[in-house]
Structures are given as C-alpha cells and as structure tokens.
Amino acid sequence: MGHAIEVVDLTKQFNGLTAVDHIDLQVHEGEIFGFLGPNGAGKTTTIRMLTGVIKPTGGTARIFGYDIQKEPLRAKQLMGISPEMANAYVDLSAWQNLIFVGELYGVGKQQRERTAEQMLRHFDLYERRHQKVKSFSRGMMQRVIVAMSLMSLPRMLFLDEPTSGLDVESSRTIHNLVRRFSREGKTVFLTTHNIEEANQLCDRVAIINKGEIAAIDTPERLKRTIRGSQSVEVSFDRYVDIENELGLAGIQRIERRGDKLRLYTEVPGKVACELADYAKKAGLDIVTINTLGPSLEDVFLELTREAERK
C-alpha cells in the first residue's frame, strides 16, 4: 500500500511562534486518517500546509508523491478539500457552486453534471439545487461544501471539521459518505473535535497538541495505552448523592454525566457487584449498568494533559 501523504519535519511559524513543530506522518492510501487536537493545536495549520494554501516554514509534504511546494497543481488536482474556514458562494445556487468547482478542476461537462446531480441527490439538496445558497441553513450549506469537495472525483479528501455544528442527520449523511468514499479505496484526512466521530470512522488517528504529534495509532491500540481508565457507568431510577453515600473502595473518581454516573476503577467487575448490592439496600432500581474500557476521549485527555504538565 502506497502513501497518500508523506510529511517530513513539517514546521510552521507565525511571527516567531511555532504553530506546527517538526511533525512527521504518513497516511496510507485508502485509509481514513483522523487528526485530533484541542483548539489551537495546529490542526488547521497542518491541513492548510498539506493542501498548499499556506507555505511551511520548513519540511516537506508529498501528496501521492507530488511535493505540495514544488508541484502544487498536480498535487491539488488529486485532492478534494472541505476547509473549515471556507464557504460556498452564497450568490450562486447549489448547482452553480458544484458546476463551478467541476470546471475549476477541469472535469468534462457530462461528468461534472452527472457528479453534481449525484452529489445533490446524496445530500438531499437536489430539489433545491437552483436556489441561491444564501437561503440555506448551516447544515445545508455544509453539505454543499462537502459536495463541492467531491466534484473532481478526487483520490483523497481533506475534511476539516466537516460536521462541526451540524444536526445529527447532516452529520450522519457526511459519515456515510466518508465510509463510502473509503470503500472505493480512496483516502480521507479528517480533522475533528468530535472524538467519537474519529473513533467510529478512522482507521488511524494522530493526536496533535501544541504543534507536536503526541501519538499516532489505531483508536483501539491507543486506548490500550491508557491504564486505570476502566469504568462502570450506572443509572438509577432516581437521583442519588452517590458521591457521598456510596463509600466504595477502589474508586479513583466519579463523574456525573447527565442521568448517569461514571465510576473510574481498576476493578470494574467488583464495583458493578457492589453497586448492585448498594441499589438493593437503598431500594433503588438500576436502569442501566455498563462496564467501559478507556475511550479515545480518555486517551486524548491523557495525552493533552501530559503535554500540559511538561
């Protein structure tokens, strides 16, 4: 399997501040690669360097073997991009926006019209294709933007926060599209704040913090690197001030999450049994109880906190 992206020693400084600090990474052809990090970690700066929007201060990035600095047009021809900060042309209709991008990438007339129709149908926008985008909701606009990124039938898709602020249905439509795109053997580079989204979609993820790559691996392998993040999640039929009442041994911390409580422990089975005993004694019904392994969110928090401590 070849590399869709090869990044070596990539660095970006703005007025002496290092936004991206000598990062190295490879993205395999055909994989969905997640790029996670807190706000200001360097995600968008990295994606902008990879897509040739801004020049790196140092290092190289190759897209399917083409150096983005030396052969930007050839590299860009192979990518579809849905930038976080970009917009569709609000004075054009959805159809005109898609056709414009198709023309910009040199796609033939029949092909671009066929692709535009497919995309608009897929994103449930076909009926409103001739309306100006300025009349669209945020979710519809985002669907147009993602559809625009697919107009050139790219080998690789860069999606920068594609589902940020979207409703569940729009997010699901985009997730389905990413999966379908990947099944066709194409590559997706996805930046997201939504860790569960990365967990569900990505073959591998990189976690970037303060411009440095903190970890790159599959979500499941990353989860295994975290110790002591097993937990029991329980929901009772009424509110319980369990933090004060329970007094169980072996609990590292308790978090209240809506109507559920999450108890972090190294012995989840024992804690589950003790919770059942507690419920019986207190006359409570257990609505749900689950034992949980470490989540990708735990990994993310652990790695970013570790960097804070340094």
Partner: protein, 253 residues
Amino acid sequence: MTPGSMEVPGQFRRSLVIAKKDIYIYFFKGPVLIFGILFPLFLFLAFSIGRDLPMEFLVPGIVGMTVFFTATSVGPVIAPWETRMKTLERLVSAPVSLSTILVGDMIASFVFGMLISMVPLSVGIFLLGGEIASPIAMIVGIPLATFCFSAFGILLSSPPTDTPANVMMLSTFIKFPLIFISGIFISVGDLPTWARYASFLSPLTYFVDIARHSVDGTNFFPWYLDLLALLIFSVLFYFGAVAYHKRSLPKRL
C-alpha cells in the same frame, strides 16, 4: 483515465471559469454599479452641464472616463469580498495558480469595462454624426486601455483587507486625482507644466490622447507612443498585482 489523474488543463481555461463566476457574482454588486457607472456619469454631467464645450472635446473625455472607471470598478471589489465571504481559501486550494485567479478577475473587469464603455462610445459616435477621424486607433485603444485599467484595478485590490469599502476608498483616492491631470477636462497641452509632467505618470492620459486622436485627429503624443505606454503600464500593473497579492494572500486567509 479518471479526472483525478488527468493532465492539468490549461490554466487560462480555468481563468475563464473564474471570470465567469466573477461575472455572475460581482457585476451587479452595489460598489461596482456606483463606482463603475454612476460615479463617472455624474462627474461628467457636473463638468459639462452649462458649459459650451464642443462635442469633439466632450466625447473623448466621457469615453476615457467611462473606460477608466468601469474597468477599475470590478477588480477592487473581488479580492476583499472573497476574503470576507471566506471563498478565497477554496480558490487557493484548487489546482490554479495565483496568476490564474488574478487573470480571471482581470478578464471579468475587462468584460465589464468593454460592455459599459460601448454605451458612451455609441452615443458619442451618434452625436458626432458618425464621423470619426481614426476608428482604428479607437478599435485598438479601447481594448488595450480596458486591459490596462483592469490590471490597475487588480493591483488596487491587493491590500489585505476583507472590507470592500476600504479598497474602494483607496481606489477612489488614487483614481480621482488622475481624472484631473489626464486631459479629460483640460487638454494635456493646456495643463500647467508640473501637472503636465504628472500627467505622463497616468495611464489614462495616453488613452484620452488616443481617443482625441481618433475623434478629431488631434493628439499630444504620437498614437503609437500612446499604445506603447498603455502596454508598458499593463505589464507593470499586472506583475505588480501578482507580486503584491502574493505578499498579501497569507494575511487574507
């Protein structure tokens, strides 16, 4: 062959695609209509009404002013507007060079300038009874001047702002004085010496000179020198625009 692996088609064709988008979006924007059509019209009316000036003097002036204002009205709107609406990043991330984008914007300005300037030209020819001393000079001069002023407009749009009004203000600040020293209201030969020398630095001077030559056969410079000057200004403006936009682009994104 999939589109992803196809040879990169000519960048000029992509400039035409960008120009078509610009025409759809920007030709009817308020600032374009105000600075491109209403402004020169009212300026000319303020100058000509109540004054007994011969048509042979007025027609080259209005044609010159229209070509200048229309061709420089679209370009300054596009870059700040695209910055504000956050559409610039999409263009920059597409397989097009910065020059391709700027040439596309110039083509749109050129089309607008050519279309609108046909109106005063046609009216002028009608008022002159269809008699023009050198139509060839006008036929060559108008497209060349429109091209030159379009490049000038693109150069004016290079400051890294997302507010079209800022660029329009700067643009007016530079364009307005040029109107008074370029032989529109007073012939270059009648200007005071300092103003005459200053007029040599204005590209509009050379087009108005061509227009006068073509209408009544009078001219300050030889017509071929006017054309050469417009050509040189075009090259300077174009390469200046590319250089300044290259510098300001990172601040826009």
